[in-house]
């Protein structure tokens, strides 16, 4: 337990990273929801649309938890100095990168899984190099570091806002499934 506690980034370090993830993931969900909204408006009532939105919010919350788990997991397996010691800044930089890499991977999923193994490895290496580059940028260049810190703290408002909306969504989904 002690080892786990030592390796686990501190909460003040996790929050900006989670906020950054919330910004990207919920922002993308809102965009997709708006894309679907006009067709739903042709078809279902406002109440139903609120229900659909609520289901989505819960899934996005789960999405952000999954991605945070990946970043926290990385800080566990990598040497402390690589990620753990500077989790709030490096993690914030990695959050966006991870989100877009996952978006790309699922978008191009069929193409990726049909690539020869050597090319699949090449794609993974490119992704890994991107992650390393992001960490190096925020470590070595104060401007990037400042940007990451600013982004992590500014995105906090989204964590609270979407957290509140998700809690309401949970209530809506519970009512619909338990009533």
């Amino acid at each position: 337990m002690k080892w786990i506690r030592e390796r686990l980034p501190a909460w003040p370090g996790i929050f900006p990273v989670y906020s950054a993830l919330v910004f990207w993931a919920y922002g993308w969900y809102m965009l997709m929801f708006m894309f679907k909204l006009p067709s739903w408006m042709l078809e279902v009532t406002f109440g139903e649309i609120v229900a659909y939105f609520s289901y989505g919010l819960i899934l996005v919350f789960w999405d952000t938890v999954q991605m945070l788990a990946i970043l926290v997991g990385l800080s566990f397996v990598l040497p402390r100095s690589w990620l753990n010691d500077d989790f709030s800044v490096s993690g914030t930089a990695l959050a966006g990168l991870l989100f877009f890499w996952i978006m790309f991977a699922q978008f191009a999923f069929v193409g990726l899984v049909n690539l020869p193994p050597s090319q699949q490895i090449a794609v993974l290496v490119v992704a890994l190099l991107g992650f390393i580059l992001a960490v190096l940028l925020v470590r070595r260049f104060p401007a990037f570091r400042k940007l990451a810190v600013w982004f992590g703290s500014s995105a906090g408002i989204f964590a609270y806002l979407y957290g509140f909306l998700t809690a309401l969504g949970v209530v809506v989904v519970l009512i619909r499934n338990l009533s």
């Binding site: 289901y55 899934l59 009533s179």
Partner: protein, 511 residues
């Protein structure tokens, strides 16, 4: 003492009253049920996206449906049967409600029957004293079954006979499956192929499903060299066709008397997964005639038409695969005596097109391949084939089944009794189909493609499309079954007559 033969004037009049029934029975061969108000059941088998024009039963030059032809030998075969729409939600809702899309309003992708119309459905009309079962592999049709679930005694899970049974929206949110599907499955996990609102979850799901599908493809590669059947998209649920048909056999065998079973199978819908013996069965060099470009398409180049047609052979191969399994099911139902106690109906919710620069059925067209679907009805104990060539509609099925089994036909039904099964042949009857995916369900229909078939002629209207003037295509299906020549300009009288009827109908439904 020899009994005295008494034959009163009253008896004579009773016999006289039976004369029209006898005449109808003669007209319909042996298709007419033994008695009205019987206790026979009905088994409706829907093969998704099966175009009648690709079936050898209806004269297609490739031998795609020899087993369905065997079934037809003891059935009533409808040669000009039309779906009311060109995709699942609309077509299925019409089958199950006996109403046109402008009435049931399920005219969007994943569409639902309007709340105030949900009560109008075949399961409810069938009555709670008989068993009512619904099963489909198509999630959009499953949404409709969920809508009708208050009147279903058994709603079989859409994955019941699939190999892949991973957690799905129905497991997580079984009390609220429609909303869960609309948001979880179609938006969060897959809004469009490759686009998801929750990418991490979508990636995880895809990876798990892909792993399972690949293992299954490898395992059954000898039987299915192109991969095993699956529902839409590359990493959705997958199954063996024979497992699904075995499941259907069990369901049909377990039905109590006078039950209603609605069994909606996904094949031969894209993606095509023919079995080995059919993969190259139609690499015969045959090419269908080149047709003019579809209404909204630019002139079709040879390369584009070749690309569109490249899928036709695989579609035909998949139909032949499904036909083989249907043949097994037919043999089973014959052996088990299921055909002796049930009306068995084979039909489809919509068709499919591979011509005019258009592929599949996700479009706004209503050409014959997209809406002409099979309808074959085997009546209990029927032994000979009856052919009906006058146009009929999928809205006719529900009222016909109700009437055949002695149930009252509700006034809400817009269909009529099918000829040969209680109805009269009416060559001049008007049959409609509509595609209006961008209309509001609670507002008048403003933009739509509407087809009107009356007699030998078919008018297709493209009405209210943004930035375009209304346009029409008129075809003489008797002399031009391939819809090659637009007669809208050269037959002004027929054109204006049909155009007026179409306009009047639109006004009527929008009133």
């Amino acid at each position: 003492m020899k009994p005295r033969l008494s034959f009163t004037r009253r008896d004579f009049l009773k016999l006289l009253a039976l004369l029209p029934v006898a005449a109808m029975a003669k007209m319909a061969g042996r298709a007419l049920p033994a008695s009205a108000g019987d206790s026979h059941g009905a088994i409706v088998i829907v093969l998704d996206a099966l175009s009648a024009l690709n079936m050898s039963l209806y004269g297609y030059p490739r031998n795609t449906t020899p087993n369905i032809e065997r079934f037809a030998k003891r059935s009533t075969v409808y040669h000009a049967h039309y779906s009311t729409a060109n995709f699942t939600s609309s077509g299925t809702a019409s089958l199950l409600t006996g109403t046109y899309p402008w009435t049931h309003r399920a005219f969007h992708y994943e569409g639902l029957v309007a709340e105030e119309k949900v009560d109008f459905n075949l399961f409810r009309y069938w009555g709670e004293s008989s068993h009512r079962l619904g099963y489909t592999q198509n999630t959009w049709a499953d949404l409709l079954l969920y809508q009708f679930s208050p009147w279903l005694d058994e709603h079989i899970d859409l994955r019941a006979f699939n190999i892949e049974k991973s957690p799905f929206y129905t497991d997580l949110f079984h009390a609220d499956p429609i909303a869960a599907h609309k948001s979880v499955d179609s938006v969060a996990l897959e809004l469009e192929p490759g686009v998801s609102a929750t990418p991490a979850l979508a990636l995880l799901r895809k990876a798990l499903l892909h792993r399972g599908k690949q293992a299954a493809d490898r395992k059954y590669a000898a039987e299915y060299p192109n991969g095993i059947p699956q529902t839409l998209n590359d990493v959705n649920t997958y199954f063996l066709l024979e497992d699904v048909f075995d499941g259907v056999k069990k369901l049909t065998a377990s039905l109590p008397p006078s039950a209603l079973a609605y069994l909606h199978l996904f094949p031969p819908h894209y993606p095509f997964a023919p079995r080995r013996e059919f993969v190259d069965a139609f690499e015969d060099g045959w090419q269908p005639p080149v047709k003019p470009a579809a209404y909204f398409e630019s002139p079709v180049s040879e390369e584009r038409e070749a690309a569109v047609r490249s899928s036709l052979g695989q579609y035909d191969s998949y139909i032949a695969t499904v036909d083989e399994d249907f043949g097994n099911l037919f043999g089973f139902m014959e052996r088990e005596g299921i055909l002796d106690h049930n009306y068995v109906i084979l039909t489809s919710d919509h068709g499919e097109v591979y011509e005019r620069g258009v592929r599949g059925h996700t479009n706004q067209y209503l050409y014959e391949p997209l809406i002409r679907v099979p309808l074959i009805i085997s009546s209990p104990g029927q032994t000979s084939r009856v052919d009906v060539r006058t146009p009929t509609s999928s809205v006719d099925l529900a009222p016909t089944l109700l009437a055949l089994t002695g149930r009252p036909v509700p006034t809400e039904c817009e269909g009529v009794l099918l000829p040969g099964l209680g109805g009269e042949e009416d060559a001049q009857r008007s049959i409609f189909a509509i595609d209006t995916k961008s209309s509001h369900v609670r507002a008048p229909i403003r933009n739509a493609t509407i087809s009107l078939r009356r007699g030998a002629y078919k008018l297709i209207g493209y009405l209210g499309y943004e930035g375009m003037e209304d346009g029409y295509e008129l075809f003489d299906l008797q002399n031009d079954p391939g819809e090659m020549v637009n007669l809208a300009a050269s037959r002004p009288e027929i054109f204006s007559d049909l155009q007026k009827e179409m306009g009047d109908k639109l006004c009527e439904v929008n009133a």
